[in-house]
Amino acid sequence: MADFPSRVSATSRIDIKPTNRSFSFGEYPIKSYRSISGAVIKRAFGNRAFNYSLELEFANVSDAIVSVIFDHYHGQGGPLNGFRIPDTLLSGMDSDLAGRIQRPEGILWFYEAAPEVQSIPPDLNTVSFSLTGELAYQ
């Protein structure tokens, strides 16, 4: 498991920060039965939330940043392996809220699909992808 990179390289000062992001709070394993009268019965089958989502867009970034994201995606086996996300992905956000999104209990982040890149020569790209926060069975 390799964490999502926060910088282009260990010696670089260039942070990898998104220019746009959206997220959801996760959902619980609940099934509902609604009777013909409209009354609803709910049953829970687990005690933690799962399926958090974090959609990220990196606009006007260099080819070097795209290469780092490319390597991380393939290093994780695409959507196979879970990882943690660094502070830089939530930069500008209140630290209390950022902590809640970054580290929900028992959650690891997975690529939902391959990142998509719009490439504009020379050296300008827009990368977008979604991460899913899943409960990993240890």
Partner: protein, 177 residues
């Protein structure tokens, strides 16, 4: 009203010929009587508290993401059949292999209802015998049936004999006179 449902899975897997002797000690009314269980391995899991170990009735249950399905009852009193689905992971493989392909195993499955504070309000325990397993690329299915069939409605069974019916026919033709 919202309720939480947790299932406790306690499987005793037998690894040797000792199994036959132990499986003979089944008492449907009192549950499965365990005698001479040396050589048996007990696996305990629960499926609600994620990655937590839960202590219940003095026993420890680890988390495993399993689910039970398929139980049914009929007027005829047939054996109840259930399947317990596990992901295809090492823990589940061990369950199957230690019970000789889940043919020499006994299961006590307890379904418990929890209130908002995770306190247990009531529970139902059911007991089953292993009758095999099947594998797919993602799941392992353990199959079980209830320990004993209920007594059928035609007890004692009737028998056709020459003393009762005269000459027993050799084919299925009926001749009315």
């Amino acid at each position: 009203m919202a309720l939480k449902i947790v299932q406790y899975f306690e499987l005793t897997a037998f690894t040797s010929a000792n199994a036959a002797r132990s499986l003979a000690n089944i008492d449907q009314a009192d549950g499965i009587v365990q005698k001479g269980d040396t050589g048996a391995v007990v696996h305990r899991y629960q499926n609600f508290f994620i990655n937590q170990q839960i202590k219940r009735a003095g026993k420890r249950f680890d988390f495993a993401p399993f689910k039970m399905e398929g139980t049914s009852s009929t007027l005829g009193g047939d054996n109840a059949l259930v399947q317990v689905l596990f992901p295809n992971v090492e823990v589940a493989l061990r369950l199957v292999e230690q019970g000789n392909g889940n043919r020499l195993s006994r299961l006590e499955l307890t379904t418990a209802w929890l209130n908002e504070n995770d306190g247990e309000t009531k529970s139902i325990a059911e007991r089953f015998l292993g009758i095999g397993a099947s594998f797919s690329e993602t799941t392992i299915e353990l199959r079980f049936r209830s320990a004993m069939d209920s007594v059928s409605g035609k007890f004692p069974a009737r028998a056709l004999s020459r003393n009762l019916v005269g000459i027993v026919p050799l084919n299925s033709e009926l001749r009315l006179q």
